[in-house]
Amino acid sequence: MCLGIPMQIKQIDGYNANCEAKGVERQVSLFMMQHEPLKMGDYVLVHVGYAIQKITSQEYHSTWEIYDEIL
């Protein structure tokens, strides 16, 4: 349950966002990110469907490099 999935925001509608990673799109809640302004193109760490932290593009790519090896 504790694996965080790095995703990129494609579209924002209120507290909901359409996010994408590795060609897979998911609805993600931004409700826990009200302290952090987010926009299309930003990267977030997603846990059980909720964005819990904004991350950089570099962190997004380096995390997926690791996941591609271990998952």
């Binding site: 349950m1 609805q27 950089t56």
Partner: protein
């Protein structure tokens, strides 16, 4: 000068560790199933100097979920006209009942109970919106999972969505080990995503109060090796502090919105950990203001204090010792008889259980 955590590879950190002059064996404990999975899958145990032992500690919320809470969830699903939803890991965890009785949520589902695995609190809301009967969300997990559950409640849910809260805080289990006087470890790797949401400051008591070196780590071999090096270096220099080897994600204060929701919705209470017992101030409970969404308030209780082996691990199972880092998974006498296909103890069920991680990585 302090090395930059994000600009060095695993080889660099391994070389740094090899330059340290360790005068005695060192036990490094992690308290996160994700850390243990990365350690096992990357084979980090085999490349470190022999003097270093990596101990998986209390990092699996499914493993410590109270046996009586799982029993309660099973009985609610079997006896009440409800739909029960839970994270998939919880469905196969057995309780201590005779084999001819229904011992897991999975078996209850086979017997006709409406039980559905979910991957997100948002799915619980969607299910509740689609049906008329009560939907009970059996919410077990550590802080990283429980904060989204709480935020779901703050955002607003249908009247028929009830939460059977079984969430736990990670740090009190480590505090309990340290307060026991026999923690079984010399340095601590603090969990990356728990620290992301709660803030790394939660772990400052480890060096400050107990003089144990600590470092927050991410999930890459680089970040884990950097954290090992940091705590070993602290030990060598006799200078303890909380280091952050996952600074790109873990920032001061944690997730401000999530923590605000947590304070609004939950009280922190003494709570039972399966096979371990009561740990003070280690559980989340819904405040009275959320009683209309509290399954424990809105539905009959099936708690049975007379039930045999209540709260215990299955007979012969070493999960309690594994969870506390007292034994390695393969030191349990059931290891091998207990497998992911036919689990006896919860540590072999969950993806975050040390036994399942070790077995899945070929450790025998």
């Amino acid at each position: 000068m302090k090395p930059n955590f994000t600009s060095h590879d695993a080889k660099f950190w391994l070389q740094q560790i090899q330059t340290l002059k360790l005068t005695k064996p060192v036990k490094i404990m992690n308290v996160c199933g994700g850390h243990e999975r990365s350690i096992s899958q990357a084979g980090l145990r085999s490349i470190l100097p022999e003097a270093i032992s990596l101990i998986p500690g209390p990092g699996c919320p499914v493993c410590v979920c109270p046996e009586e809470d799982i029993y309660e969830a099973i009985q609610l699903a079997l006896n009440e006209t409800i739909t029960l939803v839970a994270f998939g890991d919880m469905l196969r965890v057995p309780v201590n009942l005779p084999k001819n009785e229904i011992r897991s949520l999975e078996q209850a589902r086979s017997a006709g109970a409406d039980i559905r695995p979910i991957a997100s609190p948002m799915e619980a809301v969607e299910i509740a919106e689609q049906i008329d009967k009560p939907v009970v969300f059996f919410a077990a997990g550590f802080e990283t999972t429980i904060l989204p559950v709480i935020s779901m409640l703050v955002q607003g849910v249908p009247d028929n969505l009830l939460v059977l809260m079984s969430g736990r805080l990670t740090w009190p289990a480590v505090a309990m080990l340290l307060d026991s006087g026999e923690p079984g470890f010399d340095t601590l790797i603090a969990p990356g995503h728990v620290s992301t949401v709660m803030g790394p400051e939660e772990w400052e008591f480890v060096p400050a109060k107990h003089h144990i070196p600590a470092a927050v780590a991410g999930f890459s071999p680089e970040s884990l090796l950097a954290a090992f090096y940091s705590t070993l270096r602290q030990l060598q220099d006799n200078k303890c502090f909380l280091d952050n080897c996952y600074p790109e994600v873990v920032t001061h204060g944690g997730n401000a919105t999530g923590k605000q929701h947590l304070a609004q919705v939950t009280d922190i209470v003494d709570a039972n950990w399966r096979g371990v017992g009561i740990i003070p101030k280690s559980g989340f409970a819904l405040k009275k203001t959320y009683a209309n969404h509290d399954a424990r308030v809105c539905l009959p209780s099936y708690a049975d204090p007379e039930r045999k082996r209540l709260g215990k691990m299955p007979a012969g199972c070493g999960c309690a010792k594994v969870v506390l880092g007292k034994i390695y998974p393969n030191e349990c006498k059931l290891y091998g008889k207990c497998t992911p296909r036919e689990p006896i103890g919860p540590c072999m069920v969950s993806d975050e259980g040390a036994c399942r991680i070790w077995w899945s990585n070929g450790q025998r």
